[in-house]
């Protein structure tokens, strides 16, 4: 066991009905490492990410994040999830709360911060992402790009050790993608440990320390971004890259 890994995944399997979506996945992520997961749709990359904080329960295998084995029966999953930030394709901002309340909800009710302290920190997180002027708006009043940046601020407000991004820019209009990628880029530069499921090959090339290529429920290729993306190995990866580039 490598205790230095931020994330350690062993023998992960997951089926829906009769279809096996993950067919034995193993990988490690070092602290501060940025790993991009690419692959055709249906390859299992979103399912893999969703298993990392147990939004989906794997059928078998182990997931260890930030030292806590999430798949052990005795573990406090809520406590572990509080240390793992997750950003969704469709934002999932809490529609009935203001932007600031979205960001302070978990710090107040999970970390038990006082209202004022949570608001102070929440505003700081919003300011860092250039969103402080939107603190009192409702999510529905924001553009998609703004909503996704609020979702990132909401995750960061818990001061997570790991951030998971599930196709964070796929639901955005093209002109809004850049702003969200820039925020993710800054996070990566600040040393955040990140697992990013993405179709943005350009982002993977620039920001990823390592790229995983998922195909048919397994990791079909992996390595440094330049090797995987610029000198692809194997016909499936070459075919995929030819389609997305």
């Amino acid at each position: 066991m490598n205790t230095q890994s931020a994330i350690e995944v062993r023998g992960l399997r997951k089926s829906y009905g009769g279809t096996e979506v993950l067919r034995g996945v193993d990988f490690d992520v070092a602290p501060g490492e940025v790993v991009c997961v690419i692959g055709p749709s249906g390859s299992g990359k979103s399912t893999l990410l969703r298993c990392l904080n147990l939004v989906e329960r794997p059928d078998s295998g182990t997931v260890t994040v930030a030292g806590a084995c999430l798949t052990a029966p005795s573990v406090d999953v809520d406590e572990a999830r509080a240390r793992i930030g997750m950003v969704f394709q469709h934002f999932h901002l809490f529609a009935h709360l203001s932007v600031l309340q979205n960001v302070t909800l978990a710090p107040r009710h999970v970390r038990r911060l006082g209202k004022d302290e949570a608001a102070r920190r929440g505003r700081a997180h919003l300011a860092r992402l250039g969103l402080d002027h939107l603190a009192d708006r409702r999510p529905a009043e924001l553009s998609g790009g703004q909503q996704q940046r609020v979702a990132i601020a909401r995750a960061l407000a818990m001061e997570p050790e790991v951030m998971l991004f599930d196709e964070a820019t796929s639901a955005l209009d093209p002109e809004l993608v850049k702003g969200v990628l820039a925020v993710m880029r800054d996070l990566a530069d600040d040393g955040m440990t990140m697992v990013v499921v993405t179709h943005e090959i350009g982002f993977a090339r620039e920001a990823a320390d390592r790229v995983l290529f998922m195909d048919g429920g397994v990791i079909a290729a992996q390595g440094p971004a330049r090797d995987v993306l610029d000198r692809p190995d194997g016909p499936r990866l070459r075919e995929f890259l030819a389609q997305v580039l």
Partner: protein
């Protein structure tokens, strides 16, 4: 024709009954209805969460309760609770018929509220609770802070309909016999009608009911529109940017 008119709209008759309608009937009706709504909503919320349980042996009890109390005539339930319980020696409210009326109407309301709230909770997109859970909130905290508040908003109009039913069913307390001071709108009016053989008192009581129920509907509809404006949901529809604030409200209104 004149006689027909006077049978319903005899002004002196109405004025004679008006003081007791307003000072005794209206407060008692409002009291029974408000307490029954409180009982119905809170018990309904508990029942709704049982209906949503993943364990079948939990669901089955809530399902039985809902099916039974939605399926019985209100007049039968009120009789069973208000006459049956005291007769069987169970007297949580002593001899106060209002207490039994609140309990009975609240129990019926709970069954309807449970179904309404269950539907509301299920209408909240699963991504909302996923996002809440992934932040470390427990199941119950995610329900309490994220899912239930949105679920209730989604079914506000249906809940209002139920509150109106509760207001009207408060009149069934007349079955239990009321002393002076305890009488609600319908009881006062029907006593007057029996004495004068003129229905004007009933019409006056009817107006009092409408004075409660009609504004209630419009008040909640207004609240509903306001909340909807704040939580209009759309995924990929381009949103007006903050600079176009003037046009924002209209654009959202159309999407709702």
């Amino acid at each position: 024709m004149n006689g027909f008119f006077h049978a319903f709209f005899d002004l002196p008759d109405m004025l004679a009954v008006l003081p007791s309608l307003l000072t005794e009937g209206l407060p008692n009706t409002l009291l029974i209805a408000a307490l029954a709504v409180a009982v119905g909503l809170s018990a309904g919320l508990v029942l709704a969460s049982l209906l949503l349980s993943s364990r079948w042996w939990v669901r089955v009890w809530a399902r039985c309760y809902v099916d039974v109390f939605r399926g019985l005539p209100a007049i039968l339930t009120v009789s069973l609770v208000g006459l049956g319980l005291p007769a069987a020696g169970v007297r949580p409210f002593g001899r106060d018929p209002l207490g039994y009326a609140v309990l009975a109407v609240g129990m019926i309301s709970a069954a309807y509220c449970a179904e309404i709230l269950r539907a509301g909770i299920q209408s909240v997109p699963p991504g909302q609770s996923e996002a809440a859970r992934s932040l470390g909130l427990s199941y119950s905290a995610a329900m309490r802070l994220v899912v239930v508040p949105q679920g209730i908003r989604n079914v506000l109009p249906a809940l209002t309909g139920q509150f109106i039913v509760d207001v009207k069913e408060s009149s069934l307390v007349y079955l239990l016999g009321l002393a002076v001071g305890q009488r609600e709108l319908f009881f006062i009016a029907s006593e007057q009608q029996a004495a004068t053989y003129n229905s004007s008192a009933l019409v006056a009581a009817g107006v009092c009911y409408l004075v409660i129920t009609v504004p209630l509907t419009h008040l909640v509809n207004r609240l509903d529109r306001r909340l909807r404006r704040g939580s209009a949901r759309s995924r990929r529809i381009p949103r007006p940017m903050p600079t176009a604030a003037a046009g924002t409200e209209n654009a959202l209104e159309i999407q709702v």
